[in-house]
């Protein structure tokens, strides 16, 4: 889903609210569907799901153009849908079908498609934080006005890659936006146990990179902050880091019982569900319409994935080298 040209700080008009709401709803319902299909055995492997964090991918990608790029993580379903991978191509990829966005070779952790400006997601924590500098460097050297956005969790900021990438982006003033999704936990580990600095935004300052903290459950706040950062990057003013405070509503991966979190904490964040926050601006009829159109889109995607062919075994050997 890529927005029509928006200028930074555009007030949230009705069309934008509709677009963002539907974008988030698509991710939420996609993830719910995927979870069921996984339990039913249709989707193999494992899943790292995005429920709860929809405002981040949706708000960020709404500002990006089709020819801007993103890097993603082991938790890429939301990023992929928001950047424009179709529900069909994403679902087929999760099923391991040839019609998937990576021809069945990537799977859940590597969703992506160069056609919509998304590198196959990188499942190595922090992996995107260095690669994104190369995307930015190419854009800068070619004097294009594209930007590259890098999604990563707060856990990734303890990898050396985060620090190397950030510093390099800073000294080269690369057209990059760093989007930290701080959902408080890296797998089972709470961030306060592995960082004495509670805010990732603080870390950016050490490298001379402007940063800000936004409510990651409020898609309009995420969008507004991203719009400023993207405008600045396009204008050649270098990288910005945006820390989105958010929460994953599910376990880390499919086998996680979440015993390291409290029910109270989960309830607190559930009350801040990004769909509820933005939904307050919609009337009942509008949200029902979106539910219906999202359902139709996902019914179609599931059917498409199901009826798509498996790759031929011999295809496993193709595509290693250019």
């Amino acid at each position: 889903m890529t927005a029509p040209e928006q200028t930074p700080g555009d007030p949230a008009d009705a069309a934008m609210v509709d677009r963002l709401y539907r974008g988030m709803l698509l991710i939420r319902r996609f993830e719910e569907r995927v979870y069921r299909l996984f339990l039913e055995g249709e989707i193999p492997g494992t899943l790292h799901q995005y429920h709860g964090q929809e405002a981040v991918a949706t708000g960020v990608c709404d500002v990006l153009r089709l020819d801007d790029w993103i890097t993603s993580t082991h938790r890429p379903h939301g990023h992929a849908l928001a950047k424009g991978v179709s529900a069909r191509a994403a679902m087929a990829e999760l099923d391991g079908k040839r019609t998937g966005c990576c021809a069945g070779k990537g799977g859940s952790m590597h969703l992506g498609d160069p056609a919509v400006g998304m590198l196959p997601a990188i499942a190595i924590v922090g992996g995107g934080n260095t690669v994104v500098t190369g995307l930015g460097l190419a854009m800068k050297l070619r004097k294009s006005d594209q930007v590259a956005a890098c999604f990563f969790g707060e856990g990734a900021t303890n990898e050396g890659a985060f620090h190397e990438g950030l510093n390099f982006a800073a000294v080269e003033q690369l057209p990059i936006v760093l989007i930290c999704e701080n959902n408080l936990y890296g797998a089972s580990t709470p961030f306060h146990r592995v960082s004495l600095v509670p805010d990732v935004a603080e870390r950016a300052k050490a490298y001379g990179v402007p940063s800000q903290i936004v409510d990651g459950m409020d898609v309009l706040a995420v969008r507004a902050a991203t719009a400023d950062a993207v405008a600045s990057a396009r204008a050649g003013a270098g990288p910005t880091l945006i820390e989105c405070k958010t929460y994953r509503f599910t376990g880390h991966s499919r086998s996680d019982a979440r015993d390291y979190r409290t029910d109270e904490e989960e309830a607190e964040w559930a009350a801040r569900d990004p769909l509820l926050v933005l939904g307050a601006r919609l009337d009942q009829a509008a949200s029902e319409l979106f539910e219906a159109s999202v359902k139709a889109e996902l019914d179609d995607a599931v059917e498409f994935a199901r009826s798509s062919p498996w790759p031929e075994p011999a295809e496993a050997l193709e595509g290693v080298y250019a």
Binding site: M109, H110, I124, G186, S188, V194, P313, A316
Partner: protein, 344 residues
Amino acid sequence: MPETVIETRRLTIAEALREAIAEEMRRDENVFLLGEDVGVEGGFGGAFGVYLGLVEEFGHERIIDTPISEKAIAGAAVGAAVLGMRPVADMQYSDFLFECMDELVNQAAKLRYMSGGKLSVPMVMRAPVGATLRGAQHGQCPESYFVHVPGLKVVAPSDAYHAKGILKSAIRDDNPVLVFEHKLLYGSKGREAAGGYDLTAEVPTDDYTVPIGKAIIKRPGTDATVVATHVSLYRALAAADQLASEDIECEVIDPLTLNPLDEQTIFGSVQKTGRLAIVHEDTLTGGWGAEVAARVADDCLAYLEAPIKRIATRDVPAPAAPVLEQAIVPQVETIVATVKEMLG
């Protein structure tokens, strides 16, 4: 001589590894564990539950939950080992070892030599391998990268008895030892992948160790030698069962240690059978099977009655789709067909 009764019980590999670490931590206060998500209350006890319960006994001081910082995990293990601690470091998936290649290859492996023998680095790095439908960055078998490095020892246990015994040896060893285990073999879930073999084993309750550098003959035979590890080992055993019904007797060897290699056991077997196949889930080119093949060719050429065969994962990254993963990883049928081919 009084008869000694060895008391045993059946354990999974995960349980056996957990016992090995707990017993070594009780025995030697220098032993400690560090890694991601290893001891968080309500957490996973490591990516595959191997460490469940350890933090309750040993506390957070010796069961250290690290940041997601593989370089720091490996580097800290090196530094602590130099001062005489015996760290057991954990990688959630062996694919992440590439994050700390420098600490392992440039530091751990070389410090003893560089110091003119004055230092030693008694550390252990545990890392799960294997393709399990998780795609290219969570499905590798990177043992061979480390087999190549002088100064590192590499072990690859495939059953609970040997896993426990060799992990204890690794912890007591004065050198850096990488311990590779296969994700499908930790519990009972991988039974199907392992050709239906029971993945639990009888494990003694008393202290014992299994030596590093000694292979195990899993099944004696006279017609062909098959050397294999992990899931491929069980597939080789299943293949041997099938071949036996056609009167072909394979000698199946679990090398257990990939460096230093137990040449004596492998050479002895090849001298008896005259045929050798090596099976591993690592990719073919430059895989450890090539090293075994080269050494056997060097030493036992006169005994060979057929070319040495390597059965390995095809030279591609691990694909996510089940049909594709299945197509690249060594299967029982390929092993059967290859042995038959060797027998002409």
